[in-house]
């Protein structure tokens, strides 16, 4: 077993209103970045997990996403291994 650092990107479903993104979009445009066409805000989570392999770690985290970490009605998710877990200060 080794510890894997997993990155989970929870993204708002396309087509659904994303009020945070809309507010940030307005702020950027008002600051002069008039070329910004759209902003959508999601979440990134990092998780350290003991698993026999990176594939097993991803499989476990995908199950966590289905059960808890993402809402299937409004969010999509992507899971990837970003390296060995380490203690960060």
């Amino acid at each position: 077993m080794s510890s894997h650092r997993i990155e989970i990107r929870v993204k708002p479903r396309p087509g659904l209103l994303n009020p945070e993104g809309k507010a940030i979009h307005h702020a950027l445009v008002s600051l002069g970045w008039t070329g910004v066409e759209d902003v959508r805000v999601g979440k990134v989570m990092y998780l350290d997990l003991d698993a026999p392999s990176p594939e097993a770690a991803v499989e476990a985290v995908e199950a966590m996403c289905r059960k808890l970490l993402a809402n299937p009605v409004t969010e999509d998710y992507e899971v990837s291994v970003v390296g060995e877990a380490e203690v960060v200060g």
Binding site: L16, L17, P19, E20, A23, L68, N71, V73, T74
Partner: protein, 232 residues
């Protein structure tokens, strides 16, 4: 009517709900979310609040509480379950009701009186109201924007499962009357069996004249009458 008012860390409308049940002659009991004791109750109510600080998503952590397995089983047996505000969010997260409640389109926490129209007067929660009656009831939420996939929404509308809709004071469904951006101005829905109701507005805060409105009282009297026909 013996009612279990389930409390989670961060519930804050539990006492209001308790009082509302008492006011109509029901017998409320607080049930802590770790105490898995729902036997002997006629109805379960999930109060408003900010369970677990709304971390992750509103209702997402509370939905994993030990008692929620019992609430789901209670609902599947046909037991009446009412979720108000955070309680509605928890019911959606738990899969007892379809859809999800996301950030208000205004991005503001909306705390004010709104008007909602009774779309279903034939449920055990609403039988004391006339169909189409407009109620004035407060809302207080940041995540009350009801979203569901197109197919789910069509099914809800097709089956007539929208219980309450945000309307103007004269009962019209308008964009201006929608406080949070909910699809089709949805303020409350029931499950397919009609024994689970989730709603964002707070009927328990509109049960005495001193609170500014008594329009929410009908919900509790409806439940009392539906659940205790012999005593009514």
């Amino acid at each position: 009517m013996r009612v279990a008012v389930v409390t989670f860390p961060g519930s804050n409308c539990d006492y209001d709900l308790y009082k509302a049940v008492q006011l109509v002659g029901g017998e409320p009991t607080f049930v802590w979310h770790r105490d898995r004791q729902l036997a002997g109750y006629d109805a379960v109510m999930l109060p408003g609040g900010f369970s677990y600080g709304d971390y992750l998503r509103a209702g997402a952590i509370a939905r994993m509480s030990p008692i929620m397995d019992d609430v789901v089983a209670f609902a599947h047996r046909g037991g009446p379950v009412l979720g108000i505000c955070n309680g509605f969010q928890i019911l959606c997260e738990a899969g007892l009701l379809p859809g999800a409640l996301v950030r208000n389109a205004s991005l503001r926490f909306e705390s004010k009186d709104v008007h909602i129209r009774v779309e279903r007067a034939d449920t055990l929660f609403t039988s004391d109201y006339d169909h189409g009656r407009v109620l004035r009831i407060p809302i207080a939420h940041g995540e009350g924007n009801y979203e569901a996939g197109e197919a789910t929404l069509e099914q809800l509308e097709g089956d007539g499962r929208v219980a309450f809709r945000y309307v103007s004071a004269d009962g019209e469904v308008t964009e201006a009357a929608n406080p949070n951006g909910s699809w089709h101005n949805i303020a409350g829905i029931v499950n397919d069996r009609g024994n689970v109701l989730g709603m964002m507005p707070h009927p328990e805060r509109a049960t005495e004249a001193i609170l500014g409105s008594t329009d929410g009282l009908g919900l509790f009297t409806s439940m009392l009458r539906s659940l205790a026909p012999a005593a009514a």
